[in-house]
Amino acid sequence: MDAFLRGGKASAGDEASTSKGRKEDKKLKKPTPWVEKYRPRTVDDIVEQNEIVATLKQCLQGADLPHFLFYGPPGTGKTSTIIAAARQLFGDMYKDRILELNASDDRGIQVIREKVKSFSQVSVSSVRPDGKPCPPYKIVILDEADSMTAAAQAALRRTMEKETRSTRFCLICNYVSCIIQPLTSRCAKYRFKPLSRETMIKRLNLICLEEKVSYDTRTLDLLVDMSGGDLRRAITCLQSCVRLKGEEGIVYDDILEVTGVIPDNYIENLLDVCRQHNYDKMEHFVEEILSKAYCAPQVLEQIQEIIIPRPDLTDAQKSHICEKIAVCSWRLQDGASEYIQLLDLGCSMIEVL
């Protein structure tokens, strides 16, 4: 998403530079995505990730920057952190000193050999054009590094060591297990924790206030629940809601609608129907859920959420249902028909409940 927003901005800039008048025009018209608008600008703005913030602060004061490996769930600020740090380090020269490769670019061994290598071999001066000192290196950011092939990762090994003088690498990934050992041992590893409820609510509150969106606490609670510690998702969702609704302000149901979450009473009804051991009703219910265009994986997820904490079910029943949910969800992943899989799950529930 970051690159998505940035990419959009960058190319919009290119286009506008051809005619200045249009640029201003566009700025007035174009609403910026809030994820971009409220992205932390400095290292101090970054919340919750204390270790990395402490390290980066020292780097800003002149300590040497190691190679970094950031990992953690999406939406916890990995990309934001390094971008903010780079902005502070390089100021205006930011564009020249950064090579950002999104993993969904061409990221084969070829690109590593040519693009990355040639970029990293160029050495840079330690003063800015305006005479202020700045660190004498560039940063290569490899976003989504876990989807790089092992061969491409291996090609990085020696490059990383040889060009330390002029270049620092920052690898960003969701799963550290997908990065080959030789690379992890060359980097300082930092884990980004999922954001806590309070932090997210605070941030969302702030955005709502700035954007003059009316809301209630229940809505924000739901938004935070839905996003599971992913702040980007929460903010994107919030903005989508506001755009859909116009000026009216957002309510509980809007969030449900935009995230595709099924209202809880549907799921409760499904359980009730299964408890009545009535096949026809169950079939009818499954058809209704699908005709409302709710998607089956979401149904599975929510059934699981509801079943686990229920006191009136025995452990054996719970484990039986959960096992079935797991199987169905695996089959759905392979593209199996939603209708038949839900029927299968329904039958299992009829059997055990």
Binding site: R233, S291, A293, G335, A336
Partner: protein, 354 residues
């Protein structure tokens, strides 16, 4: 003379017959002249395409309705040539990339690059972006969807994507999180009936309430099918009679008959029989998902609860392996054979019990 489906397709948000609130919201969305990438999803015949066309009309004016067909050629790295049909107006282009089979990745990337790299000539007159409408996104390979993700990011300034899918369970989360998803539920039977009554009124026909209700029930929430059926009924017999026979699609009848054949006799000979019938269906291009669904539905009506449970379990298993394998007929046939075994066993057990 056009079909009723096209003739009475609403062309503004104020004229749509159901999901009015959602229509209003979509109107809000385009009022600013800009929107994020959109992902419409819902069962077939729920009105996704209608809403998309209205949206485009709101955005660009009636120019979007001047459509032309184009053949586009693409070349794969292995020098294979692919030809794809597109429908385009001056402002948007519509493509069904899954037509290209496993080469859809190339089609998606090339097409969007082509369309997105040309800027609109006069940005003050028109919107500064084009719209690319991709249908059946859920049928795209995972590879193509990954490629889409990058292309979507890159060209957001010059083009917007509107994706259209039957179900989002096959759309990768990376794409879902980049789009504003819009759920289009299918209309309820009451809504279908009112639409049918309306159309008939405009045509100057009178349709009995009972007939309209029956058509609505038969159409399974698919409005397009309901309207087509209604028109077919009119061709068959007019003035309408409330007990008039409703024409059902041939393939559906054929599947029902196949199910009856299976239920009648459970022998290897009969399995051969069924095989030829299944081949017949496949030859005519009926999607396997539909064959499986209706066959299962029909077979289940004749089963007891205990058997039902077992049959569904077997069905879900075979339907899944069908997606992993390559030859559809094996899995369909395996299911039929298994069903026969279960059913026969059950019949014998009941006879013995008596």
């Amino acid at each position: 003379m056009s079909l009723w489906v096209d003739k009475y397709r609403p062309n503004s948000f104020s004229k749509i017959d159901y999901h009015k609130e959602q229509g209003q919201r979509l109107k809000n969305l385009v009022q600013h002249g800009d929107f994020p990438h959109l992902l419409f999803y819902g069962p077939s015949g729920a009105g996704k395409k209608t809403r998309i066309m209205i949206l485009l009309r709101e955005l660009y004016g009636s120019g979007v309705e001047k459509l032309r067909m184009e053949h586009m050629n693409f070349q794969t790295p292995s020098n294979k040539k692919i030809e794809i049909m597109t429908v385009a107006s001056n402002y948007h282009i519509e493509i069904n990339a899954s037509d290209a089979g496993i080469y859809d990745r190339i089609v998606v990337m090339e097409l969007i690059k082509n369309a997105a790299q040309t800027h609109q000539l006069d940005a003050n007159e028109q919107r500064e972006f084009k719209v690319i409408l991709l249908t059946e996104v859920d049928k795209l390979t995972k590879d193509a969807q990954q490629a889409l993700r990058r292309t979507m990011e890159k060209y957001i300034a010059t083009c917007r994507l509107i994706l259209c899918a039957n179900s989002i369970s096959q759309v990768i989360p990376a794409i879902r999180s980049r789009c504003l998803s819009i759920r289009v539920p299918s209309p309820s039977n009451v809504e279908i009936v009112s639409v049918l009554l309306n159309i008939c009124k405009k045509e100057g026909l009178t349709i009995p309430m009972e007939l309209a209700t029956r058509i609505a029930e038969k159409s399974e929430g698919n409005l397009r099918r309901a309207i087509l059926t209604c028109e077919a009924c009119k061709v068959n017999q007019y003035p309408f009679d409330k007990n008039q026979k409703i024409v059902e699609p041939d393939w559906q009848n054929y599947i029902c008959e196949t199910a009856n054949v299976i239920l009648k006799e459970q022998t290897p000979q009969n399995l051969l029989n069924v095989r030829s019938r299944l081949y017949e269906l496949l030859c005519h291009g009926i999607p396997t998902e539909l064959i499986f669904k209706y066959l299962l539905k029909q077979l289940l009506t004749k089963c007891d609860m205990a058997v039902k449970r077992e049959v569904i379990q077997v069905a879900s298993d075979f339907e899944h392996s069908l997606h992993r394998g390559s030859k559809v007929i094996f899995h369909l046939e395996a299911f039929v054979a298994k069903f026969m075994a279960i059913y026969l066993q059950y019949m014998e057990d009941t006879v013995r019990a008596v």
